[in-house]
Amino acid sequence: MSTTTDAKIRIQLEDFSVTDEIEAMKKVSRNIGGITTFLGTGRELSKGQTISELNFEHYPKMAEKKLEEIREKSIKDFGIIDMSIIHRIGPIDIGENIVLIVAAGEHRGETFKACEWAIAELKRTTPIWKRETTTTGEVWVQDTP
């Protein structure tokens, strides 16, 4: 199941389609000449442990507010045309989509920079937490790489 809406900031249980999100972004402006995406997916190994399931929790309203701040600052500081940020919450299987950032600009340079900054800032400032289930139990991940 996937959803695509016009909202540029979304935190949702459902999966999303990377292709649909890129196509939606391309419709924003005829001046878009480059799009950079970051897709985070569920990884099976973490610190030597095999993960069977991931689960994401967020602080409603504050998390959306932080993502909107990241989007607005990316557009202003890097001079890109637009950015969308989608983060899933709830249970996520290995290999599934977790987070997508789509940065669109006139040229590629600013979109690479904006995309890299945005994912780092998301992890630093957005109240979203990851719980990993392994053979030894469940643990909330607290390190921010």
Partner: protein, 84 residues
Amino acid sequence: MITIKYFASLKSIAEKEEDSLTIESPISIDQLSDIIAKTAPKMEAIIREKKVMISVNQEMASADTIIHDGDEVAFLPPFSGGAK
């Protein structure tokens, strides 16, 4: 009355997800921490050692932030959203 929220790992430490507290007059985060140390003792060390961030009405707060009646205070463990 103020609302207090706990997230992720803090829910099991505080042994609750949400709490409410009646305050007679505005208090600081430090004063709230003193009160929580009594109602959720396992939270005390975590707050004192600054292992959590605190927000008031969805904005990050500091030790001297003043909390007013009707405010929402949240204790936030380090974030881990996204993927490595």
